[in-house]
Each structure stands twice: as structure tokens, then as C-alpha cells.
């Protein structure tokens, strides 16, 4: 399909990152959110990534300004009426996402693809909110979107082959590598990462090694992780990890039950890097 305009619903950091990768590839994007301040965050985030490239001399300032001109912002849905492709990136709440999808359904052209960037919710359940579930698919980006190549392209119960192909084609057009998967809890990466994190937590609890030693073993060349699992959990956010583990526990059973230590961190508000403390202390808060 020929994509002339991409709508991104839910600006914020994720929306801004997606706006960056889309405009970098030359696609005009419309960022939509409910408050101006969220739109500001999204645009500022896209600009920040471009500025980093300019500082690294990988792009001229003129080029950056040209790319940024491809981004427009809106508080209403009207601007999305002629978008060929929508990427929804609002907070992970099923009711909210369904409301957004039914609003999109009312305004978007019948041919438009409606993709959700959900990391944990069911694509099929989100698609129930629209009259064209065959045109709904998951398009799960990884943080930071500007660096991570993977996009999990998720087939909901009623997603058409054509919609899957369109999402994969757009992912490739913006420099990503799509991997198709079924609409199953945690898709691929979150499910397997949580299995790894949970085993690491069990090893610590059994007293085999400290978390710092486990993490440093994991980043040695023979294990080959870029960052240890406890540290990765802190970076992703303990609240997010907890939420994903709960969803996986519901779907697959107690092997995914969040560890006591995660429950304790949540209860004391230690959500990882963003709050200054998680599995490790980051010296603030």
C-alpha cells in the first residue's frame, strides 16, 4: 500500500520516538494527543533524537528542520481522516485503547490500517472496538525505538493477511525488521525476557549468587547480554515488568508469578531507574 500520511495517537515519549523513525524515512506524520503538553513532549523527544544525530554529524541542521516539518500536531481526530496508517501508542489500558480505536473507526478512511503499539494487551480484544477488525494489527516497537530494530507484528483473531503485510511493509520502510507473531500474552520478547528475569530472581533468592554477580556474569562474552537482567528490569521499569508478569501469569500459570522482591519494590515505590531505585540504587530520590 502507498502510505502518504501516518497518524500517531498518543504523543509522549513513545509517540515522539515513532514520529522520529517515521519522519526520518520521509513519511509525514500527525501526532494526536488529548493535551498540548503531551504533544510538546512528543515533538521535543523527536527533536532531541534529531539533535543528537546533528551533533554526531550524521545529519545537517537544515535536514533536521526539514524532517521536523513533516510532523504536525493535533488535539482532534479530524486531521487523521486522510491518514493511511494509524499507530496507536496511548497508555496500556484496554478500556482506553478500545475507546481510542472506536473514535478512530468513526473518522478514519475505510482503507486505513489501524495498528496498536500495545506491549501486553490482546490485539483481538482491542480490535473488537472497531467495525473493521480485519484492518487492525499489533505493531509492537521496542525501547528506545530509534535504536532497536525489532517490531513484533501481531496477528489478531481477525487480522487480514493484507493488513499483516502492510504493517510489515511499513516497519521495513522505516528501517525496522518485522517479526510476525500470534496474539499471545507477552508476544515473543516480553514472555521470554520475563522467563529469564524470573529464573535470575529465583537463583538470587536461593542464595546461589548476588544480583550484582548474576548481572555481571550475564554481560560477560560467554553469556553475551548487553545489560544484566536485574538492571534491564530497572531500566524498563519495575511497574511495567510487574504488569507484564501478571498478564503472563494469567495466561500461562504461576511460573510467571512476580517474585516477592518485585512486589516489595512496587509496594515501596521503587520502580527502577526512573524513581532512583529499583533492584539497584541510582543515588537519587
Amino acid at each position: 500500500m502507498d502510505i502518504k500520511k501516518i497518524g500517531i495517537v498518543g504523543a509522549g515519549v513513545m509517540g515522539g520516538e515513532i514520529a522520529f523513525v517515521a519522519t526520518q524515512a520521509g513519511f509525514p506524520v500527525v501526532l494526536k494527543d488529548i493535551e498540548l503538553r503531551f504533544l510538546d513532549i512528543g515533538v521535543a523527544n523527536a527533536r532531541q533524537i534529531y539533535e543528537f544525530k546533528v551533533r554526531r554529524r550524521r545529519m545537517s541542521e537544515d535536514e533536521m528542520e526539514q524532517k521536523l516539518k513533516l510532523i504536525s500536531v493535533t488535539l482532534g481526530y479530524d486531521e487523521l481522516a486522510d491518514a493511511d496508517f494509524i499507530i496507536e501508542a496511548v497508555p496500556e489500558n484496554l478500556e482506553l485503547k478500545r475507546r481510542v480505536f472506536s473514535e478512530l473507526d468513526a473518522v478514519c478512511s475505510p482503507g486505513a490500517i489501524l495498528a496498536t503499539n500495545t506491549s501486553a494487551l490482546s490485539v483481538s480484544a482491542i480490535a473488537e472496538a472497531v467495525s473493521r477488525p480485519e484492518r487492525v494489527a499489533g505493531m509492537h516497537f521496542f525501547n528506545p525505538v530509534s535504536m532497536m530494530r525489532l517490531v513484533e507484528v501481531v496477528r489478531g483473531a481477525r487480522t487480514s493477511d493484507e493488513a499483516m503485510s502492510s504493517v510489515c511493509a511499513l516497519a521495513e520502510a522505516i528501517g525496522k525488521s518485522p517479526v510476525r507473531c500470534a496474539d499471545s500474552a507477552g508476544f515473543i520478547v516480553n514472555r521470554l525476557l520475563c522467563a529469564a528475569m524470573l529464573e535470575a530472581a529465583r537463583c538470587e533468592r536461593e542464595g546461589l549468587m548476588s544480583r550484582a554477580d548474576i548481572d555481571s556474569a550475564l554481560v560477560k562474552p560467554d553469556a553475551g547480554l548487553p545489560v544484566g537482567l536485574f538492571k534491564m528490569a530497572d531500566q524498563l521499569g519495575i511497574d511495567l515488568i510487574h504488569k507484564v508478569m501478571r498478564i503472563l501469569q494469567d495466561a500461562f500459570g504461576d511460573r510467571f508469578a512476580p517474585p516477592e522482591e518485585v512486589e516489595r519494590l512496587i509496594a515501596s515505590g521503587h520502580l527502577g531507574v526512573k524513581s532512583g531505585k529499583g533492584f539497584y540504587d541510582y543515588g537519587k530520590s
Binding site: 525489532l150 517479526v179 500470534a182 508476544f187 515473543i188 520478547v189 521470554l192 535470575a200 553475551g224 548487553p226
Partner: protein
Amino acid sequence: MENRELVLNRIFAAVVAEAERAAAEGVASPQEIDDAMRMGALFKKTPFAYTAEVGEETMRARLDEFAAKYGDRFKV
């Protein structure tokens, strides 16, 4: 030092077991699962390639041993 090897083996075996279940359920193919873990989690030891590297039989024996010692999460 022995603990180090055990811990790494357990963590990667847990990923292998979960990857086999996901593949068996039809979530994605083994190749797609490896691709996703390489690009989405930056794993070098992606589950199916790692199993091939260790040897299918060795991995099977390890999973059986871990399943007996630590529980059904290693049973596939």
C-alpha cells in the same frame, strides 16, 4: 564459580523451555523467535541457536535434570 555456571545454565534453559512452548503453541517459528530475541532483547544466545550450539541432546538432558530438581517450568 560452579554457581556461576549453574545460574547461567538455569537462566538460558528457562528461556529455551519457554521458547519451545511458544513455538509449539504457534506463537512464531523457531527462527522468528530467535530473530525477535536477537533484535528485541539483544540476546546473543538466542534460544534455538543456543540449543543447536550446546547440542539438542545435551539441552534435553539439562532440561530434564532441571525439571526434576527445580520444577515443571523446565518441562517441555
